[in-house]
């Protein structure tokens, strides 16, 4: 996985999407113009104000050190304390110490060079800090409040308004320093270890003691979290400390973290599932953003996507059958290696929920399989061909009107994995849905789809294949299934006999009919007779229901089973769902679909 991330980083650098090794993107709102003697001659303000009135200008500058408590200076670009010994407390001793550290660092990097720019920078730091001059310049140019805002913001040294971080001479000096610094960094002040074999390249390298942080995983600490870290003695082996337990060169550590940070910043590569309990990153070997975009839209089917479901389905079908597809500017190849990484936040650490590496086409064929497994007859008003992940997840929790309740993290993560990897659906998903059915006495399309898809992938004789179809199976003699249908018929009969009734048999008996039919069904049969009696004025309708009941009864036999297993309950529920859909079809006579026309005609004939 780390190896793939490093390859991705190299690809991103080539495309100019990630900073080079030794550099990082920082917000640098100010530039300080200096002359050859290192005197500040002008102050520039870069970028635009954001909503909260702060200036924002992202610039690629020499990589910033991770600061916790200690004093660590950065090259060419830093905050006010390091650049001119003024912090929010004014020209304090602490700020002076920081400036001195910066001066020392620049002296070390620049001592060998006699380049004009380098000398100017060296002069800037060799002289006394020029805080008061800079304060004067800023106040004159941008007003009184600007100075206050500028404190603790980043400044970059410039010549003629051009940031020196873009100067090739200074970049070269920095590169030599940065890579030459590897050995210093690796020892971390302790006994210097010699080289170790790298975990990703197999080569002998100087291992980095700490790796850069990863920012942007929702739910983790905003200052960044570590993917690779060892924070307690039990996780160390053989006396190795920190990241020496996973030896990796400084470059490799930089590459994989930068790759992750770049993906996390970009909406195209990242999706957050379930309010941040899971962050999914996708990328292809080529790092083109169209691949992950298609994958996300296809796997979640969220309604906010800008392409229609039909379009997505056709793309998925073509790619999973091995045909390349043109999408926006890219030609999507089914053979493209593709990676999916699920990260779960855990305060200062990240944990890997899953990682898949496969060809793009194969992963999409898993997604397509999910479409097929969850495909189920839908009511006329439902315009979506595929049930979205969000609405599948909603079936596992209590829904209150106007309030979105999140599904359990584990259920969400498992479902995404089932879709992407073609694995079985998790038992907890089904379990949660069954609990909701028991409480709500209602089976909608998404619930029926989950039951059907679950038993398709985890075959169970209690819920046989003959009931796991897209539409009703009128030939099935499966007993629980027939009982489910019978229940729906009784419900229809009741509403025909007592139109507008408040509490129906579904509210009263559904759960128990499903679990202990032998207790409930005799009661229903009894009630059914009474309801039939009420239909004397409509003999056609009475005959219609009578026929249906007799037909289903003959399949169930003399005795109702005393108990149904969970799988048999699933079969019951599917039978109920399909039969209910039949009833709705009958009422929606104007529906255009052909099969529904036929069904409607049958209903009319029976009446």
């Amino acid at each position: 996985m780390i190896e793939a991330l490093i390859r991705l980083y190299e690809q991103l650098v080539k495309q100019g999407k990630a900073p080079k090794y030794g550099y990082g993107q920082e917000n640098v709102p100010f530039g300080l113009d200096i002359d050859a003697q290192g005197r500040v001659s002008d102050v520039h303000q870069f970028g635009e104000t954001t909503k909260n009135g702060k200036y924002r200008y992202m610039l690629e500058v020499p990589a910033h050190a991770i600061r916790t408590a200690g004093v660590k200076a950065n090259f060419l670009c830093d905050n006010s304390a390091y650049m001119f010994a003024v912090d929010t407390d004014g020209a304090s001793a602490k700020a002076r110490k920081r400036f001195d550290a910066a001066a020392q660092l620049h002296e070390e990097i620049l001592k060998t060079s006699d380049d004009l720019d380098a000398r100017a920078v060296a002069n800037f730091f060799a002289a006394e800090p020029q805080g008061s001059q800079i304060e004067q310049l800023i106040t004159e140019k941008f007003g009184d409040t600007a100075w206050k805002n500028a404190l603790s913001a980043n400044f970059v040294l410039c010549i003629d308004g051009k940031p020196l971080s873009t100067s090739s001479v200074l970049q070269e000096l920095w590169d030599t320093y940065f890579s030459g610094n590897d050995s210093i960094d690796a020892s971390g002040g302790k006994k210097a270890p010699d080289t170790m074999q790298s975990i990703v390249s197999g080569r002998q390298v100087l291992p980095a003691a700490t790796h850069p942080n990863i920012r942007g995983v929702q739910g983790a600490q905003s200052s960044g979290a570590a993917l690779i870290s060892f924070n307690a003695p039990a996780y160390l082996s053989y006396g190795k400390e920190q990241d020496l337990n996973a030896p990796m060169s400084k470059y490799e550590a930089f590459a994989y973290t930068t790759a992750l940070n770049t993906l996390l910043k970009d909406e195209q590569y990242r999706r957050v599932i379930n309010k941040g309990s899971l962050t999914i990153l996708c990328w292809s070997e080529s790092a083109e953003p169209e691949y992950p975009r298609v994958m996300f839209t296809a796997s979640t089917m969220s309604s906010d996507a800008d392409v229609s479901q039909e379009k997505v389905i056709s793309i998925v079908k073509a790619l999973s059958q091995g045909h390349p597809v043109d999408y926006e500017d890219a030609k999507l190849k089914p053979t493209e290696p593709f990676y999916v990484l699920g990260l779960a936040p855990n305060a200062a650490r990240l944990s890997v929920s899953f990682f898949y590496k496969d060809t793009f086409g194969h992963l999409l064929s898993n997604v397509n399989q999910h479409y097929e497994d969850t495909a189920i007859e839908r009511p006329g008003f439902d315009k979506h061909e595929v049930v979205s992940v969000r609405s599948l997840l909603q079936q596992t929790v209590v829904q209150r009107p106007g309030k979105y309740v999140e599904a359990l993290d584990k259920v969400a993560a498992d479902l995404m994995q089932s879709i992407l990897a073609g694995k079985r659906y998790s038992a907890s998903l089904l379990d949660k849905v069954e609990i909701r059915i028991r409480a709500e006495h209602e089976i909608n399309r998404a619930k029926a789809a989950i039951i059907k898809a679950f038993y398709l992938r985890s075959p169970n004789s209690g819920c046989p294949k003959e009931v796991l179809q897209m539409t009703i199976n009128k030939d099935s003699t499966n007993i629980p299934y027939s009982m489910g249908r019978l229940f729906a018929v009784y419900e229809g009969l009741q509403s025909a006999a007592n139109p507008g009734i408040n509490t129906t048999i579904r509210d009263r008996y559904f759960t128990n009919a499903c679990r202990m039919p032998a207790v409930v069904f005799p009661l229903l049969v009894d009630l059914g007779t009474k309801h039939l009696g009420k239909l004397k004025t409509k003999p056609g309708l009475a005959t219609y229901y009578n026929q249906q009941i007799a037909d289903l009864m003959s399949r169930i036999g003399e005795q109702f089973p005393s108990r149904l297993t969970l799988a048999e309950q699933g079969s019951f529920q599917l039978g109920y769902y399909f039969q209910t859909q039949e009833r709705y079809k009958k009422t929606n006579k104007d529906n255009a679909a052909t099969d529904q026309m036929v069904a409607a005609e049958e209903g009319a004939n029976n009446e």
Partner: protein, 217 residues
């Protein structure tokens, strides 16, 4: 003196060194884990196990679990203190020291380990390879072990039996699969600085060949 041992179990966790705090397993068993299993059944100072190959019999499947782990390690000095002065209490109390950590573990694994052993300079005069081999075979046949062999962590016990089939074991898939760098074993030659060694792991039709690991010097 090759031996073939079939091992299987419900779960396995061969922790990747880089994913250790929140554990993630390697795709297949590492050679050092295989060595550990053989050593649990039979080991002697006069011998050293060398793993030749590991055949992966079941498809690679992962699952995610949360487990309680203890974050501290006990120090030798504390134990000595406690032995000298029993009133002193430096034990680790798991209930106070517990942490919940996620682990990505392998499910339903089955491997065949092929290995041989070499004699070391610590053998006594009456030791010889044939003796060790028959000791190992006898123990493995009877299901004896010094400590229960496990798949990576102690929670995941190993079932084992000698591979009795005439034919060689067959891997779960055809073709080649690159698994990246994998822990080969620890280099114990310098006791003050024990280093991990890695090798490029490749599955060839489900077989991990570990005879010629490219351990870079």
């Amino acid at each position: 003196m090759p031996v073939k041992l079939e091992v299987w179990g419900d779960y396995a966790l061969f922790t990747r060194p880089e994913m250790k705090a929140e554990r993630v397993s390697y795709d297949v068993m590492t050679p050092s884990a295989a060595r550990g299993i053989l050593e649990a059944i039979f080991w002697h100072p006069g011998m050293r196990w060398c793993i030749d190959s590991i055949t992966v019999m079941n498809p690679i499947r992962f699952t995610n679990v949360r487990r309680n782990e203890v974050k501290s390690v006990i120090s030798g000095r504390n134990i000595r203190d406690m032995m000298e002065n029993p009133a002193k209490d430096s034990a680790i109390y798991t209930s106070q020291d517990i942490q919940q950590r996620a682990s990505m573990v392998l499910r339903d694994v089955r491997y065949v380990i092929e290995a041989h052993f070499e004699m070391t300079k610590n053998q006594s005069p009456e030791d010889n390879p044939a003796k060790f081999l028959s000791m190992f075979n006898r123990r493995a046949e009877k299901g004896q072990y010094y400590h229960h062999p496990y798949f990576g962590t102690r929670e995941f016990p190993v079932n084992f039996q000698l591979w009795s089939g005439e034919v060689s074991p067959i891997g779960f898939e055809e073709g080649e699969r690159d698994l990246g760098y994998m822990l080969y074993d620890m280099d114990f030659s310098d006791a003050t600085n024990i280093k991990p060694l890695f090798f490029r792991a490749k599955l060839n039709s489900g077989v991990l060949d570990t005879t010629a690991p490219e351990v870079f010097a």
